[in-house]
């Protein structure tokens, strides 16, 4: 991993020269015939390989949707698993075209990394997991605890802020990868494991006995997770941004993977714009007119992807909560496609 980051850094130093600042990422991707997508090293529900080596998850679906929009083939993707601390370097150096890896949108990441967030795929917050045997009911009872955490995340700073703000002492042990942190927590090195709440549910599934562990009720931070692209390529930024909005819009309009062909025949002006039977919105993005039906056919709408990967129908069983559509009590909202 260390070697990877070193290589990537040298690539940033030397290889950037090959990558003109106003890089035509869309053209590069089309010429290559393959989308290079940065994902996690295995976080069930968001991005993890199944037993056949196929990547699945909410973050993976974003990449599949982009590939579907560009190539009409959601399998033309090279997935690049990245640790938290290597992810930005990989994006900066051009190793990946898009980073879709449960990454929290913050101001400093938007400004200093040479990259932009395109939207929010999942509204999350940081929480704590402890062993049931400790009989802890609240994060405020964690004074003097040892906490395992993955290094290179906003989690490390939130943790410091929370314990300091509540005048509690703690010991932090930061690991290079999420799996190492979880393993150390399971072995008893730490009393507490902390990451985003969605991650806690996902990681709990990996433990030998998930029922022995409990996620505490406190959510100590805002963690809006979303995809990232490099600065300086507005066209590619738009493609990635509107891919997510297309999925959300599809849910708003009731377009699903099953009924997409049916809906495409609709006479409603709104539907005609979305499906490209009227106007050329898709072509303005640099895609094709039928970009929305390509996306929905391959991964479904946002709600379908959510349910399949992290929602009630999945192993994680997370409720929609604030990730529901704005019209259904949540805050997921897409600007109009027109």
């Amino acid at each position: 991993m260390k070697r990877v980051s070193l290589v990537l850094t040298l690539a940033v130093a030397a290889g950037l020269s090959a990558q003109a600042a106003s890089a035509q990422t869309l053209k590069t991707v089309k010429d290559r015939g393959m989308l290079s997508c940065g994902v996690s090293q295995g976080l069930p529900g968001f991005s993890s390989p199944d037993d056949k080596g196929n990547w699945t998850g909410l973050d993976v679906d974003i990449c599949r949707a982009i590939a579907a929009a560009v190539f009409n083939d959601p399998s033309k993707i090279k997935f690049v698993p990245l640790s938290a601390k290597d992810r930005f370097t990989a994006l900066q150096s051009g190793e990946i075209d898009v980073l879709s890896r449960n990454t929290t949108w913050t101001l400093s990441r938007d400004t200093s990394l040479g990259a932009n967030f395109t939207g929010v795929t999942y509204y999350d917050g940081q929480g704590f997991m402890v062993k049931k045997a400790l009989k802890v009911n609240s994060a405020l009872e964690l004074n003097s605890a040892s906490v395992c955490v993955q290094q290179g995340t906003t989690t490390e700073q939130n943790l410091a802020d929370y314990f300091k703000g509540n005048n509690m002492k703690y010991e932090v042990i930061a690991f290079g990868t999420n799996d190492e942190a979880v393993k150390a927590y399971e072995s008893g090195r730490c009393d507490v494991f902390t990451t985003d709440v969605s991650g806690l549910y996902a990681d709990r599934l990996k433990l030998a006995n998930p029922a022995d562990h409990v996620v505490l009720p406190e959510v100590i931070s805002k963690e809006p997770l979303g995809p990232m692209v490099r600065h300086g390529d507005d066209q590619w930024f738009d493609v990635v941004k509107w891919t997510l909005y297309a999925m959300i819009t599809a849910e708003e309009l009731g377009i699903t993977q099953k009924n997409v062909d049916e809906m495409a025949k609709s006479d409603k002006p709104e539907m005609k714009r979305v499906f490209g039977t009227d106007g050329n919105l898709g072509e303005q993005l640099g895609l094709t007119k039928d970009w929305v039906s390509r996306i929905v056919k391959s991964v479904g709408n946002y709600g379908e992807s959510f349910e399949r990967n992290v929602g009630a129908g999945s192993k994680l069983g997370i409720a929609r909560g604030i990730n529901a559509l704005w019209s259904k009590g949540g805050i997921q909202y897409a600007p109009p496609i027109r």
Binding site: S17, T89, T111, S144, E156, F175, S187, G232
Partner: protein, 400 residues
């Protein structure tokens, strides 16, 4: 007829020609000049390109970030540190943690390595087979695997803090590490240290005097009882007059962990153990090769003078073997230091972990941070080899 002595041809030009161009002369010099210029141009292009592209992508560049607040905590800090300190402080904390694990690792690796080498050369069949087995087993397993073994398999098998193994209720061993009483300086501390220093200096002087006496007159006098007496009595006297040098803060279990006392974290123990046992296997072979390189006759000559095996090794064989041992031994020391960067796998906060890891991903300034980190390891390595060269030079000089 007087013969004019011919002027010797000026040597300056050909000398210069050879120095600059080697055997190829001036054309060689031109080729070298072009080569160096090309290298400089490539270096300039890389820097200029990277800078232009960083600016174009609006990636922050420069070292200004070092004074920003870090905002995260570190589990082991030799100097005081909190999340509200800046990245310079983080850098120092990481650097000291790296140096700590390297120095202690090098010490134990050397001791274990020498012992294993001597064991392997021992005439005792069992001892030499055990030492041989150690070398073959340890040096053939990947280091990362060994670090994880010590960390996960051995240390995690220890009980939790509530059921920790305690000695006299003052030392506690658990999966949170070893907690020991923490010495806190009292008014009597300084006199105690001064007395101890005086005693040590006096003891060394005594020993040197006895050596000189031995070489000059052949008289053997036993000085160690006096030296030991000095080292014990003087500091004791100081404590009697000025009061106890330290008091101990006894750790107590409070909440999840022990509070008070000092703690050796398991990450440090696992990393030091793995690094020193692993490097020791290589050092053992280097030492063995060094000892075997000394002619057998030296050993026999020593024995025939009536010296015991230990004395022969210490006085005759090892000083000669050191000349062979030192250069590869330096390599091993450098390897150990660089291998300590595997710390991140078990969460030990070394330089790479806290600085090239967390700091890098918080600030995104990969080029600056990786540059600093590489520079640091380069300096550590150069200093280590300079020290070893100096030591080698001294040995060479003392042997004449």
């Amino acid at each position: 007829m007087a013969i004019e002595p011919r002027k010797p041809p000026s040597q300056l030009l050909p000398k210069l020609q050879r120095a600059l161009g080697g055997s190829a002369g001036w054309s060689g010099f031109v080729i070298q000049l072009v080569f160096v210029a090309a290298l400089a141009w490539i270096a300039y292009e890389i820097v200029a390109n990277a800078r232009a592209n960083l600016q174009a992508q609006r990636i922050t560049a420069g070292f200004g970030f070092m004074v920003n607040t870090a905002g995260f905590d570190v589990s082991q800090n030799l100097i005081s540190y909190s999340g509200s300190d800046n990245y310079i402080r983080v850098f120092l904390v990481g650097l000291l943690n790296t140096l700590l694990v390297s120095v202690i690792g090098i010490f134990f690796a050397t001791v274990i390595g020498f012992l294993v080498a001597l064991g392997r050369l021992s005439p005792n069949w069992l001892l030499s087979r055990i030492a041989g087995g150690y070398v073959e087993l340890i040096r053939n397993l990947p280091l990362l695997f060994q670090i994880l073994f010590w960390y996960l398999a051995v240390l995690a098998a220890l009980p939790n803090p509530r059921q920790s193994i305690s000695v006299l209720d003052t030392f506690f061993l658990s999966n949170r590490g070893l907690v020991i009483p923490k010495p806190i300086g009292e008014p009597g501390f300084e006199p105690f240290v001064i007395a101890l220093l005086i005693a040590i200096v006096a003891a060394i002087a005594l020993w040197r005097y006895s050596r000189r006496l031995l070489f000059q007159s052949g008289k053997v006098i036993k000085v160690w009882p006096y030296a030991l007496g000095l080292v014990i009595v003087l500091p004791l006297l100081a404590t009697q007059i000025f009061g106890a040098p330290v008091k101990f803060e006894i750790p107590v279990l409070k909440g999840f962990n022990f509070s008070g006392g000092s703690r050796v974290i398991p990450e440090f123990v696992a990393l030091t153990l793995a690094l020193s046992t692993y490097t020791a296997a290589f050092i053992a072979e280097i030492v063995r090769a060094g000892i075997l390189s000394v002619h057998k006759g030296q050993m026999e000559a020593g024995s025939s003078l009536g010296l015991q095996r230990g004395s022969v090794l210490r006085l005759i064989v090892i000083p000669q073997a050191l000349r062979v041992i030192l250069p590869p031994l330096t390599n091993q020391y450098l390897n150990l230091t660089k291998n300590s960067t595997l710390a991140v796998a078990i969460g030990y906060p070394d330089l790479v972990s806290v600085f090239a890891g967390t700091t890098l991903s918080q600030t995104g300034q990969a080029i600056e941070i990786i540059g600093i980190t590489m520079g640091v390891y380069l300096v550590i390595s150069l200093v280590t080899s300079a020290i070893m060269s100096f030591y080698g030079w001294r040995i060479g000089r003392s042997m004449g």
